[in-house]
């Protein structure tokens, strides 16, 4: 695959103090044919050569439409899925080819918060046993005993510590998400991948959980990879944002920069599509409507994958895969014809 080299420019400029370094990581899911032999007839190229890094205390937002590979990317960088290609480095250590067993001690430092607070908690376990599971799995014995540690955690995430004997069905969606968060921070991880953590919640509850995540980050210097399709939430919580399309990162930059001067036409369209909760400002905005749907990740378009929906696409876009280039310090993008105003 020639694709792997294309991110070199980006990789070279990566930061030295990175907690997680992702280099040209790919994740393919094989498709097998029918019949007895189950021949390998193709791949779903869910993640195609993505590179980024995350430093301690930072939030990297990952946005994109459904099917763009953002959740797969989140799971792959935690090695919940084995990458098909590329390299993963956590805390200075190459973890790309570690086995499941070798990963166990590292799991303490990397955690995940899931979207659906209903299916990510075992309904037959009490909240106390759900939150104390990480201690058991990792064989950690807190000095003051597991139960008081669990109760501290519950208090920290805004749950009543008296409720440790209750079952998940006795809690509302927002409270369940707090249980999931308490479980994730139990062992003081360094990195948490949050996969759509607030999408299933009501607006007022969403804000509570977002604020909680921000407070915990300040307190424990957590690094977050915050995956969501809601650009407003991602923009609010993230220091940097990566925009994904069909398994690739189209643009990655400081969240302020990406909103004010997006250089990729896809980012531009995505931002323009989010309606502002402000009628007057909203009616003044100009919207870039993208035509059609996401192409199939089994047979992605040649050249730039976005060209089939891109309002600026030209012949070159079909022939040549755009390289990831640094357009401004820390502002990376992959486009042959970036938006003009980004050059300011």
């Amino acid at each position: 695959m020639t694709v792997v080299d294309e991110n070199d420019a980006g990789v070279a400029a990566r930061r030295a103090d990175a907690l997680l370094r992702v280099e040209a990581v790919q994740k393919y899911f094989p498709i097998s044919g029918g019949g007895v032999l189950k021949r390998h007839i193709g791949d779903v190229k869910a993640v195609e050569s993505i590179s980024f890094d995350v430093v301690p205390g930072e939030t990297l937002g990952v946005v994109g439409e459904s099917g763009c590979g953002k959740s797969t990317a989140g799971r792959t960088v935690l090695k919940l899925l084995q990458p098909t290609g590329g390299r993963l480095e956590f805390d200075g250590r190459d973890i790309t080819n570690l086995t499941r067993k070798e990963m166990v001690p590292l799991r303490r430092e990397m955690q995940m918060i899931f979207q659906d607070p209903y299916s990510s908690l075992n309904p037959r376990h009490t909240v106390g046993s759900i939150i104390s599971a990480p201690f058991k799995v990792q064989g950690v014995k807190p000095a003051r005993g597991v139960q008081s540690e669990v109760q501290d955690l519950m208090a920290r995430v805004g749950l009543n510590p008296e409720h440790f004997n209750r079952y998940p069905n006795e809690f509302s969606g927002g409270q369940r998400q707090r249980i999931g968060i308490a479980r994730a921070i139990a062992l003081r991880p360094k990195l948490i991948v949050c996969d759509e953590p607030v999408s299933a919640l009501d607006v007022s509850i969403q804000a509570q959980v977002v604020n909680l995540l921000e407070d915990l980050q300040d307190e424990f210097r957590l690094a977050y990879i915050f995956i969501a399709h809601d650009l407003s939430v991602v923009r609010h919580i993230s220091d940097r944002i990566a925009v994904m399309y069909l398994g690739r990162i189209m643009e990655i930059a400081d969240s302020e920069l990406i909103y004010k001067s997006p250089l990729h036409p896809y980012t531009h369209a995505l931002i323009s599509a989010v309606p502002l909760p402000d009628p007057r400002a909203e009616h003044k905005r100009e919207r870039i409507l993208l035509q059609g749907d996401l192409p199939s990740p089994i047979n992605p378009p040649s050249g730039c994958v976005f060209r089939t929906r891109c309002p600026k696409a030209q012949d070159r876009c079909a022939e040549e895969i755009p390289l990831v280039r640094e357009f401004a310090p820390g502002h990376f993008g992959a486009c042959h014809f970036p938006e003009e105003r980004s050059l300011i």
Partner: protein, 368 residues
């Protein structure tokens, strides 16, 4: 506001359950004119979806008690015979549901499902119905409509399915369209296409739209008037500018403060509403929002605990259900929402809005 095309008066829907009566909708009133969009905003359990189902006559009257009035072009629907409502439904009024995958039948082709909707209300040949269905798919922006007619729902993407739902709702050119979270399951890029489509169709057919959503961005984009619901009640009602730039109800402030904004600076912190939406079985005795309201102490004599506030007008179009004094409400709104809303409004349209509170405060007090 022009002539109300749909008028809902004191609508109440109660579901008896083992734990007690659930007052899902409690005395809701509003009007929608043709060519206008009314947004009903609220969180889960606020009664917004049940309200729309009651209008469409979709609530099983054997298991629920529905009272009040729904006037559709002058015709009262709640007391009408089921077959009368049925002949309107799908024809003069139609609904778009949130989840297109569960609202389309998985066993029948798109074409068959669309043709069925035509057959029920029009006396046309099968081929003519098929042509209508094809044209409507084309109209809602589905590429290759001829091929799509033969497809099944699972062959289509989420955005395409939602377009099929919209096409189905529009087949008989309804005069009222109820869209229940029409874009919630969709990506923003597709959402933008769907909003655009609904706006085009409204312009073309003069449809009255009732938009049910929790997304304040979509509301800002589409609505003319807004009804904010909480705990089965309307807690604030007004035109779009009233709700976004002159909100008067603590719950509305809470909602506006909870939404992150794309155009906000990097360090702004969200101001969530503490607590959770109420259980509709054991509603608080006084104001439904009292347990989550930060301002109830400003009201003398614990009235928020004991008296249900009435929905009282601030201006002829704008009404609010709150015990706080209008002057207090305005002060808090400016303090809480600051630059984005109330203040932001003053330079542009200073004369009218800043003049309104004074007569309104007098009026409200008299009514109490």
């Amino acid at each position: 506001m022009s002539d109300p095309f749909v008028k809902v008066e004191d609508l109440r829907v109660q579901f008896p359950t083992e734990d007690g009566i659930v007052g899902a909708v409690d005395g809701v009133s509003f009007e929608v004119a043709k060519n206008e969009t009314l947004a009903i905003v609220g969180e889960s359990g606020s009664g917004k979806s049940v309200t729309s189902q009651a209008i469409m006559g979709l609530i099983n009257r054997k298991t629920a008690k529905v009272t009040g009035q729904v006037l559709f072009d002058g015709e009262e629907l709640l007391s009408a015979r089921p077959d009368q409502v049925r002949s309107l439904r799908g024809k003069r009024m139609a609904m778009i549901f949130q989840d297109p995958l569960s609202s389309l039948h998985p066993f029948y082709s798109i074409g068959k499902q669309l043709v069925e909707a035509i057959d029920v209300h029009q006396n046309v040949s099968n081929s003519a119905a098929m042509k209508q269905a094809r044209d409507m798919l084309d109209r809602v922006g589905i590429p290759n409509p001829d091929r799509r007619l033969k497809d099944y729902p699972h062959n289509l993407s989420g955005g395409m399915r939602q377009r099929v739902m919209i096409a189905m709702a529009l087949l008989n050119s309804p005069e009222l369209l109820i869209a229940d979270e029409p874009t919630t399951a969709l990506d923003v890029t597709v959402q933008a296409q769907i909003i655009d489509l609904l706006r085009d169709l409204q312009r073309e057919f003069g449809t009255a739209i009732i938009l049910i959503t929790h997304d304040l961005g979509v509301v800002a984009d589409m609505a003319d008037d807004v009804v904010v619901m909480y705990g089965g009640r309307v807690v604030e009602r007004g035109n779009i500018d009233d709700i976004y730039y002159r909100p008067e109800m603590p719950y509305t402030w809470g909602l506006l403060g909870s939404v992150p904004r794309m155009d906000a600076g990097p360090s702004t912190r969200l101001q969530p509403i503490p607590g959770q939406p109420p259980s509709l079985i054991r509603l608080p005795k006084g104001c439904v929002f009292r347990p989550r309201c930060a301002y109830h102490e400003l009201v003398p004599g614990n009235r928020c605990d004991t008296d249900r506030p009435d929905l009282l007008p601030v201006t002829p179009d704008h009404a609010v259900r709150c015990h706080l004094e209008p002057a207090q409400r305005r002060e808090i709104a400016i303090e809480r929402l600051g630059a984005h809303t109330v203040v932001d409004n003053s330079p542009a349209a200073d004369a009218t809005p800043s003049a309104t509170p004074t007569p309104a405060s007098g009026g409200t007090q008299e009514e109490k």
